[in-house]
């Protein structure tokens, strides 16, 4: 039956007033309550999304020439944004899948929102490869469809084609994972629903969930296998994205270190974005008892880990460039550090390598403000990482004769900021109409990791537990074991 948890672990559900009823009330509250704050935010981001659409329309009407690109720099903000969003989209599945496999209970507090974030981030990411095409109306060509040209299929050697498969797979699998988890909670909302229509709609959404033992049994099995599938998937997606660069011949792109380095970076930025959003919504929807400092701290630990991995990757790149003795490679990195884009390089270094190191200090790790600011820093840094890799490498490659400089136009900027509005807009809709915490899963850990449960057990200290099965172990008393 219930796994036992060391008393020294902090609870993941705070507040002595908690019980199942209370949990349900608290978690569904955002969906049942109406808030003006929400309306304002939604309208603002809605407007931003319209501007996004306008900029895309402008691009399609006049041509890619409306961007700052040139004959030498064929990709800049478009693909930078694409990789950035995809990276952000990695946290969700990672949290739900890998943390599930590792039985990290703190995932329950954040997985739902994180998964939703994944979906929305991937939607934003998908926009860029589509609209960066010179002839977006012919986008269908990238699918291996039977046609009258020979028949001419696609080029299975092209990393860009691999992307198509990777991204679409990733998107749909994340969607399944997310939605299968949502069904029971929709059931809960349905059963509390007052209005006829509300009941009808949520029943529709819940696919008629009932919650009997059989369903739960298969539910568990499904989520376990999906987790098992998603774990390699989430790693493969950014690996394949990194192939776009790694398999090319451009100095600064042609690097075997990219796959792990990109994946680490993705988790890094993904967790940061989750934090940014969770910190806001836990305030907004008073979920402090369910998204606790404990949650934040655990994520900060992952951030400092991945941040350091990324940092090592940067240094390795530099070393290998020098060690390779290959002039062009050496120049590419010389150019990153001292070239015309050095400012970008140092922003990247500062935000990605320096800033997360603050998390070695427990105080800072558990400080909400520090966490919030750093989470934003990290995402700025990760955007610049992609910019540095893509643009500086392209701007000065092999032949000095064709070197050029990229600077964005208002359309570039509009599309990027627009995509952020789209992301927030979708997230706001989600948090208003969908349960943004996995209600069932939170309840599942209530008996294990809630303040209440711990108190109960504390009372029964020493006594043999009537019904309780499970071994009693006392973890080592040193502080470090805390929150592990």
């Amino acid at each position: 039956m219930h796994a036992y948890e060391s008393e020294f672990r902090e609870p993941l559900i705070n507040g002595m007033d908690k019980n199942y009823t209370k949990i349900t009330d608290d978690l569904i509250a955002p969906v049942e309550r109406n808030s003006t704050m929400w309306w304002i935010a939604t309208l603002l981001t809605g407007a931003g999304s319209l501007f996004f659409v306008f900029c895309l329309g402008w691009t399609v009407w006049f041509g890619i020439g409306t961007w700052g690109l040139n004959k030498t720099v064929g990709w800049a903000w478009d693909i930078t944004n694409f990789v950035w969003w995809i990276g952000i989209g990695h946290a969700g599945t990672l949290i739900s899948a890998i943390l599930l496999l590792f039985r990290q209970r703190y995932r329950t507090g954040i997985n739902r929102a994180a998964e939703a974030m994944t979906i929305f981030a991937v939607i934003c990411a998908g926009m860029f490869p589509i609209f960066h095409m010179g002839r977006v109306w012919d986008a269908g060509f990238i699918f291996p469809l039977p046609n009258t040209r020979g028949p001419l299929w696609v080029n299975f050697n092209s990393p860009l084609l691999w992307d198509v498969f990777a991204i679409s797979t990733y998107f749909s699998v994340s969607l399944l994972f997310w939605y299968s988890g949502l069904m029971p909670d929709f059931g809960t909302i349905r059963d509390r629903a007052k209005g006829k229509w509300r009941k009808y709609i949520y029943n529709l959404l819940s696919f008629g969930w009932q919650g009997n033992a059989r369903q739960w049994q298969r539910f568990e099995s499904l989520s376990l296998v999906l987790a098992g599938l998603s774990t390699p998937l989430v790693l493969s997606v950014h690996t394949i994205v990194s192939f776009d660069f790694a398999t090319s011949v451009i100095p600064g792109w042609h690097t075997t270190i990219f796959p792990p380095y990109f994946v680490a970076g993705a988790i890094f930025s993904g967790f940061a974005m989750v934090e940014t959003l969770m910190l806001i919504s836990r305030k907004l929807f008073n979920l402090e008892d369910y998204i606790t400092i404990n949650h934040i701290e655990s994520m900060n630990k992952i951030i400092v880990l991945t941040g350091s991995i990324v940092g090592i990757a940067y240094l390795t790149e530099l070393f290998i460039a020098w060690y390779s003795g290959f002039l062009y490679e050496q120049f590419a990195f010389y150019n990153r550090i001292l070239g015309k884009y050095l400012w970008a390089y140092y922003i990247m270094m500062g935000c990605n390598v320096i800033s997360p190191q603050f998390y070695w200090f427990k105080k800072l790790r558990r400080n909400l403000w520090v966490t919030f600011i750093l989470s934003i820093f990290v995402n700025i840094g990760m955007w610049f990482e992609r910019f540095v890799i893509i643009v500086t490498s392209l701007a000065d490659d092999y032949l000095p004769s064709s070197w050029a400089y990229f600077s964005p136009t208002w359309v570039d900027i509009g599309i990027y900021t627009g995509s952020m509005s789209v992301f927030l807009f979708l997230f706001l809709l989600f948090s208003r109409f969908f349960p943004s915490l996995a209600i069932a899963e939170v309840k599942a850990i209530f008996r294990i990791s809630s303040e209440v449960a711990k108190a109960e057990r504390a009372k029964k200290e020493g006594a043999t537990h009537g019904g309780f099965v499970g071994m009693q172990t006392v973890g080592p008393l040193d502080k470090d074991s805390k929150g592990n």
Binding site: W58, T59, W61, F62, G63, I64, G65, T66, G68, L69, N70, K71, T72, G74, W75, P129, H132, M133, G134, R135, V136, D138, F141, I142, R149, L152, V154, N155, N157, S158, P159, L160, L161, D244, T247, S248, V249, I250, W322, L327, Y328, Q330, F331, Y334, L338, K340, L394, D396, D397, Y398, L399, P400, S401, S402, W403, A404, Y405, S407, T409, V411
Partner: protein, 1041 residues
């Protein structure tokens, strides 16, 4: 927007109908229809729509016309029998190009009766230009379809008919009290001269004068020759016979007298092979860098004043009296003496005395009769700088009452002011210009001449070498050939064609012995485009006052002072301004500075560094600091662009920019500096004392190659990239692979896991001889015309979006103050392991079985991944609908300093008229599509088809690519390397052959031959980091220590 497209649709529909009706009923019984095309298409109240209709109409009509000898009379195609004009098959007509003072022997390629390309004639029929071509000739095809062309005769602004014009002007000419002046640039057509003479006679004695004026003046050398030889002509220079060449400020490979010919001859003696291991020695003494100087073995960088003193010094040295302060010049002098009789000294100065000294030097060296011959002097430069002032005086004094301007634009390109006002005094001013220009605007009548592609004519570029011009298309507008007009006015019956024929029969037929029967002679003359008559005598050197000249030259040099000096030079692209309304030429990067769409002040990077001008532009926006250059009182403000090799305190500004009367405002770029030339005893001198000051302003310049820091000295002197390889002749003789030693290693190291693909059929390959290429840019324009490469305009070039499939890379090596330069034509390398092919998701680019890296435009979705992954960056993306291939918005959706509005009108070859130049064999790429060099695959397929029809294998030379045919020096060799006998195969296996960045194992099918310099002194061949001159100076010091 949408309804605009709708109307466009209608136009196209109706145009098509024009075609269909004709296609339906072809040939004989339809002949009456032709009357309607001999009718000018723009008469009456016909709208633009009708005009388009008629364009489609005349195009097809010309097919029929040519086949039934109606409007074109008897014109014999070069390769094809006329009745064989079939849709889809090109016809080539021998013709002669003589425009803006440039002569070239050409073939006109027509498709469906529409001229679409100018090709050079084969050597045996091009005795002057020797099968070479120039950027200007290549681009000139566009002037036929120029929007600036006059479409009918005009009185002031109002359109009139030819009848009215003839009547009014005829009366005026009779009633005139004063003289009539025909003002033209040098006329080289004997028959035209005859027509002019007749016209003069018809006016009566003393009533007529013909003045010739060349915008780029050669009066200095002409007058000098008159003094030393009694002939006001320019002798033939034989660069192929010279072993030691000393050029003093003469850009003979770029612009001087007959550059195409000289480039060819020069290259003959510069190419190396297993058989020929020796080459000529070329020393260039010059101030403002030119491609000639950059190609020289030794370039002596001096001030304009020192160009003059150098001549004096050389004269003293070769005549054994004295020496120069400049050691290099002493050495040059010694080398000249060592090569008596096979040496050659040329001076570009327009100062009579300087040229007198040059003649004296050549005479002292005994070069006359060997490297300089008088048997066939040039007729192409005969203008007098005094012409304009003569005309103005005549007009002001009232002795001249009527002026007729023919092929001349003195209002724009004469340093003498006040012509426009003086013209107001005349009773009759007529311009025969066929395109709008400043002089035409100042005249009260414009009687447009036919375009040369619509005309009959002849030409005698060199004495005794006669060329014919035949029409390649029925005239597009209501124009009339000048000769016809003059014949009419002088009351002659019959057409100019008849006159031409008679003239030839009378004057030339007798002089030759090859053909008997005039018709045989005439037919061959037209079919070949050229006949050679026996050489007409020579001239003997009579000295003249050399001593006087020497002191005069020294005086002139002294007058220029020792401080800042400016030199006004002719740019390869736009010449004297005649070409600045040609988009192709405006967008051709200047070989020396790589700047397009502008003129600017050339300065020394070191000087700029010291005086706080940004050497490398702010690369973000290509912004250059603007300088105010003042020459005796008059000043001009232009951006200052650094060009290595310019001595400090020397500045150069190109002539020919800043045209005011042009069809499109963007063509009027730059500033007109003709006004800044100074007159010296009647001739215009291109050098002057100058002062310059910073205005504080900046200007964006459409430069295509900027100079970033490319060496890695900061990282402990890592060896620089070997993009180009060079060596000295000395080293080459020791080891043919000198400078290219690392290649063996590279090839050894390029191993692969995969089996390599076989190319059993053809394996197309190109080899470019860096020793022969002088960067003139003819190939670039030829490629543009052949492959419908769009012109994108200044704004887009500033955004680094020029579309050229073939560009010429320029690398500096050696010292910063006087570097060596290598020109490297860079095009798609058609790698057998092409990085671009692997990454295209939709298989739009892949490898052909003949080793060509091919593009399927209609499959391309424009991800630009291929361009990113191209190590040579030769792929070009259609950022906008540059060529109206699609019904997209015709505007740019971005703004910048040149285009402050957010959306601005696009500039390109998108107007219905200019689109007539497009090559029907090559897809016009739509927006959002990637494009690049295709090895002229359409030509290869055509050649294969020919061979197949003749049931034989493809011979070497059957398939020629556009850049190769245009190249005057034969630097570009193309062919099938599976053919062991092919020229390209021998080059491919030459020890000098190398591929660019082969170390990444792309296996390019384009190889280069190392540049070899004929000199002893070694130089470090690191590509120059002149982005940091101060660093270079340090470096040089280190080396000296």
């Amino acid at each position: 927007m949408s309804d605009k497209i709708y109307w466009k649709g209608i136009e196209e529909k109706e145009q098509l109908e024009g075609f269909r009706t004709l296609a339906a009923k072809e040939f004989a019984e339809e002949l009456p229809v032709l009357s309607s095309i001999t009718e000018p298409v723009t008469t009456g109240k016909s709208s633009r729509k009708d005009f388009l209709k008629m364009l489609g109409f005349s195009t097809t009509a010309a097919v029929i016309a040519a086949s039934c000898e109606m409007p074109l009379r008897k014109s014999i195609p070069y390769v094809w029998r006329p009745e064989e004009i079939a849709p889809g098959i090109a016809n080539y007509y021998a013709s002669t190009f003589y425009q803006g003072g440039d002569y070239e022997a050409v073939l006109v390629k027509t498709r469906e009766g529409r001229p679409i390309k100018i090709e050079p004639r084969d050597k045996q029929n091009a005795r002057v230009t020797k099968g070479g071509s120039s950027a200007r000739a290549q681009a000139s095809i566009l002037s036929l379809y120029d929007n600036g062309r006059f479409r009918n005769p005009k009185r002031g602004k109002e359109n009139i008919t030819w009848e009215t014009a003839d009547k009014e002007i005829g009366e005026k000419l009779k009633s005139l009290s004063g003289k009539v002046v025909l003002f033209s640039n040098t006329v080289i057509s004997p028959s035209t001269k005859a027509v002019i003479a007749d016209f003069g006679n018809s006016l009566g004695a003393g009533k007529f004068e013909h003045l010739q004026y060349d915008g780029i003046s050669y009066a200095g050398i002409l007058d000098a020759n008159e003094k030393s030889f009694g002939k006001r002509l320019i002798p033939a220079y034989n660069f192929d016979k010279a072993t030691v060449i000393v050029g003093v400020g003469a850009d003979f490979l770029g612009t001087w007298i007959s550059p195409t010919e000289f480039s060819h001859d020069y290259a003959v003696n510069r190419k190396l092979s297993k058989e020929k291991k020796d080459m000529s020695r070329h020393i260039q003494i010059e101030s403002v860098p030119t491609i000639t100087g950059y190609k020289a073995d030794t370039r002596i960088s001096v001030k304009p004043s020192e160009e003059l003193t150098a001549l004096v010094d050389l004269y003293n040295i070769v005549t054994g009296g004295g020496s120069s302060k400049n050691e290099k010049i002493n050495k040059a002098g010694k080398e000249l003496l060592a090569a008596k009789g096979t040496s050659l000294v040329v001076s570009g100065s327009n100062d009579v005395n300087a040229q007198l000294v040059a003649n004296a030097i050549n005479n002292a060296l005994g070069n006359y009769g060997t490297t300089i011959t008088w048997d066939r002097p040039y007729n192409t430069k005969q203008g007098s700088d005094k012409a304009v002032s003569t005309l103005i005086e005549g007009l002001n004094s009232g002795s001249v009452k009527a002026v007729l301007f023919y092929e001349s634009n003195p209002v724009y390109n004469s340093p003498v002011k006040g012509l426009a006002d003086a013209l107001k005094k005349a009773e009759l001013t007529v311009s025969f210009a066929n395109r709008v220009d400043e002089t035409a605007v100042a005249c009260n009548y414009v009687l447009p001449d036919n375009h040369w592609l619509e005309s009959w004519n002849d030409a005698e570029p060199k004495a005794g070498i006669l060329n014919t011009t035949q029409p390649a298309i029925s005239k597009l507008f209501d124009t009339r050939q000048v000769q016809e007009t003059l014949l009419k006015w002088s009351g002659k019956e019959g057409s100019y064609y008849e006159f031409l024929k008679k003239n030839w029969e009378a004057n030339f037929y007798g002089k030759q012995s090859t053909y008997n029967g005039f018709w045989a002679f005439w037919d061959n003359a037209i079919a070949d485009g050229e006949v050679e008559l026996p050489a007409a005598g020579g001239a003997s050197y009579s000295g003249g006052d050399v001593a006087g000249a020497v002191s005069a030259v020294s005086a002139a040099a002294g007058a220029l002072g020792n401080d800042m000096q400016v030199k006004f030079y002719e740019s390869i692209a736009v010449g004297d301004g005649y070409w600045s309304d040609n988009p192709y030429l405006q967008e051709l990067p200047d070989p020396v500075s790589k700047v397009t769409w502008d003129n600017y002040i050339i300065a020394s990077p070191q000087w700029m560094h010291k005086n706080g001008y940004n050497i490398d532009p702010d690369f973000k926006a290509k912004e250059y600091a603007v300088g105010k250059l003042t020459v005796n009182g008059q000043s001009v403000e232009l951006p200052v662009v650094g060009v290595p090799g310019t001595p400090e305190g020397v500045f150069g500004v190109a002539l020919g920019y800043g045209r005011e009367a042009v069809a499109h405002p963007e063509l009027g770029v730059g500033k007109n500096v003709f006004g800044l030339l100074t007159a010296k005893d009647g001739n215009f001198i291109d050098v002057a004392k100058a002062t310059i000051e910073k205005t504080g302003g900046v200007k964006q310049v459409g430069i295509t190659q900027t100079h970033f820091n490319i060496t890695l000295q900061d990282l402990g002197g890592v060896k620089t990239r070997k993009t180009v390889k060079e060596t000295t002749l000395h080293e080459y003789k020791q080891n043919p692979a000198a400078g290219n030693e690392d290649r063996a290693e590279i090839l050894e190291e390029s191993v692969t896991l995969y089996p390599e693909h076989k190319y059993p059929g053809h394996h197309w390959t190109m080899v470019i001889d860096l020793n022969a290429c002088n960067g003139c840019g003819a190939c670039v324009v030829a490629c543009n015309v052949e492959n419908n490469v769009p012109v994108v305009g200044k704004d887009q070039v500033i955004r680094s979006r020029e579309m050229h499939w073939l560009r010429i890379d320029r690398y500096y090596t050696g010292e910063a103050d006087n570097p060596d330069v290598v020109f490297q034509p860079m095009l798609c390398q058609h790698c057998d392991n092409a990085p671009c092919e692997n990454v295209c998701p939709v298989a739009a680019t892949n490898h052909s079985s003949e080793g060509i890296n091919q593009m399927a435009y209609n499959r391309c979705i424009g991800t630009r991944y291929c361009a990113n992954n191209c190590p040579y960056k030769v792929r070009r993306f259609n950022w906008y609908d540059y060529q109206e291939a699609d019904a997209f918005d015709k505007r740019y959706g971005t703004s910048n300093d040149n285009h402050p509005n957010v959306v601005t009108e696009r500039f390109g070859l998108s107007e219905p008229l200019t689109r007539m130049v497009l090559n029907p064999d090559v897809t016009v790429r739509s927006r959002g599509v990637m494009e690049k060099c295709s090895f002229c695959v359409q030509r290869l397929q055509g050649a294969k088809l020919e061979a197949k029809k003749e049931n034989r294998l493809l011979k070497d030379g059957d398939a020629k690519v556009a850049c190769q045919t245009a190249c005057a020096t034969g630097a570009i060799v193309f062919g099938d390397r599976n053919d062991k006998a092919a020229e390209v195969t021998t080059h491919f296996n030459d020890e000098r052959a190398f591929g660019v960045i082969e170390e990444i194992h792309t296996m390019p099918n384009v190889l280069y031959l190392t540049q070899v310099r004929n000199r002893e002194e070694e130089k470090n061949y690191e590509i120059l980091d002149y982005y940091h001159p101060e660093k270079m100076e340090k470096k040089n010091k280190k080396e000296k220590v």
